[in-house]
Symmetry: C2
């Protein structure tokens, strides 16, 4: 499946939760399949903490890897382009064709850098609603996503319940936990304390790639589960027979982490990583509400919730609070707790169980 | 309890596992209580991944905090100086009075920096055995420690079983896990990628304190449990009423992490952190053995093993493999799994349950 990135430019200002606005904005997106004549077969896929909307297929036949959710999107897969018109939208604040800190500020012509306004998950969804109008879609057949994508799905349910015929929320929570608040702060500080960060104004010079590489290492030591590390690497030595007794990476898992740190590239703008984690910080469906059910007032479409038994950061118990809230408002909801050793990333890296559940739900 | 740091200098070379040697070395240590005339009331306390032997009491009455294991050492506590002569020894490779990378290299008169030889947990224990001789102690009434301290206890059991009358191993494992290998690599890289690291040769100039601060943040996001973060901080805002919509720390837990990053000081030499984690990397009682029992051949003294139900990094199941191995060699062993929300650090930060178990064991 060869796909071509697309983009849509919006000239009407977008009012943001902060009180600021984007005078104009762009959304980068990809589509798989065709919108039918009734415009009722469209599925919106919301991405997690990644940098672009490339969810499935390849841009060029010789690409090393397909999009991030190729396991779920494609002919014969749950999000089947022969049945559905699947839209994957890059969020605002990102760097995959949507307006973000690397985009030119219309006021100056130079990249916004840290002058880009802080955006929320709700702002991302408000921007996606504009794209939805532009594509001629009144109501999504389904809106689906994991992690930050799941946050977006819940904002869709909360802000535009009438535009969502079905929702799929994977490995998410109703309010970002203290642990994740801490992790995002560490991730941001690894970037911002890089001497090359220069207050975010690095576009014309050296990028803070050392900090970005470190932030990827920090993320990986949290995201890859202890169990997967044991199975995949254990205490295997890194291309040697004996311990070195030197300060180099003796073990294969350490060489693997060093490669992650060394191979940061500009495809994920460090400033975007700062903005996306900040948006996740602010995600809290309980804020200003008397209870979670209030956030879901108006929802009556079916929702599928998926969590993983090994995902200690977004545990099934928290997901189950979302189930209870949806039951309180009388919405049909199903919570599936899947087994996997892959933890939070299982919806991407161990997708088989998920795909069976998704196909059932969409049928 | 006011204590005074002590040190012992050894002129005989110490042969290291690497094949190198230290031509001379020093051990920094503290003692609490008095050695009796039979020299049979001495307890050795081995420290974890910290920088010195200051385990209990204060050096000055106006010190803000006592030593790191003050909960367990002191009058009326399990390691009671009225009964026992408690010795806490800083490890070689450390920076609390023992020979390490910040010590002068006798060959040059300048700090060793990265010319200090890589040491193992076994080397640390071999050095402690010299201190044991110097103090006139033939056999320890008990050797006790958690985390890297527990590693040292197991090396004592393995190398000098006849010198250990009882052993207490807390939150440890028989072989450092792949996950911890990865974490130590990340910790080291945060330091070594600081522009001020200068190949470890920073003693005469600016220290890589930014990297050291970052490494503390990375450690804390792993060591402090999700549950404790939720209870202690939750989503409480940092001295504000409303979200800032700026790139600052909105939440108290984020301000707390920033303070950790900002307040790195020279009391923990970054090079020592590199050497201590490297020593932990190499810890593997199974290496070169047909099974774990072989590592414990010769042990016949009682051992207390303590693990915590919330310690996902050093899980009780791994500790139980040590119990099984000790049972195989016919040594009396007891494994207590304690409840605590504090995870790996519970033996320091939530010591009440531990103290009851320790007192029982020593009685």
């Amino acid at each position: 499946m060869i796909v071509t990135p697309q983009s849509a430019v919006f000239d009407e200002p977008l009012a943001l939760d902060s009180g600021r606005e984007l005078s104009e904005f762009t959304i980068g997106y990809e589509t798989y399949g065709r919108l039918n004549s009734k415009a009722d077969n469209a599925i919106l896929v919301c991405h997690g903490l990644t940098h672009n909307a490339h969810a499935a297929g390849k841009h060029h036949p010789d690409d090393a890897r397909p999009g991030w959710w190729d396991v779920a999107i494609g002919p014969g897969k749950p999000f089947d382009p022969d049945r559905f018109f699947v839209v994957s939208s890059n969020v605002i604040g990102g760097c995959g064709g949507s307006s973000g800190p690397s985009s030119p500020d219309p006021a100056t012509g130079k990249p916004y850098a840290l002058n880009f306004p802080v955006v929320t998950i709700g702002d991302m969804v408000a921007a996606q609603a504009r794209l939805t109008d532009r594509l001629g879609i009144r109501r999504w057949r389904a809106v689906a996503g994991g992690c930050m994508g799941g946050y977006q799905v819940m904002e869709w349910m909360s802000r535009f319940p009438e535009r969502v015929a079905a929702a799929v929320v994977i490995t998410a929570t109703a309010a970002t936990s203290a642990h994740t608040l801490a992790l995002w702060e560490v991730i941001r500080q690894t970037i911002m304390r890089d001497a090359k960060f220069n207050g975010g104004d690095y576009y014309g010079g050296d990028w803070p790639l050392a900090g970005l590489g470190l932030s990827s290492m920090v993320g990986m030591v949290i995201w890859m589960t202890r169990e997967v590390m044991a199975q995949r690497f254990g205490r295997q030595l890194a291309g040697r027979e004996e311990l070195s007794y030197e300060l180099e990476a003796d073990f294969e898992i350490q060489a693997f982490f060093q490669r992650i740190g060394d191979n940061a590239d500009k495809s994920f703008d460090p400033n975007s990583l700062i903005y996306l984690t900040k948006a996740m910080d602010y995600f809290d469906l309980l804020r200003g509400q008397s209870g979670l059910a209030e956030a879901f007032a108006g929802v009556d479409s079916p929702t599928l919730l998926v969590s993983y038994d090994s995902d200690w950061r977004y545990p099934s118990q928290e997901m189950d609070q979302i189930r209870l809230a949806l039951e309180q408002v009388g919405a049909p909801v199903e919570h599936r707790v899947l087994k996997s050793s892959f933890g939070h990333g299982a919806f991407i890296y161990d997708g088989e169980g998920l795909c069976a559940v998704l196909s059932d739900f969409l049928a």
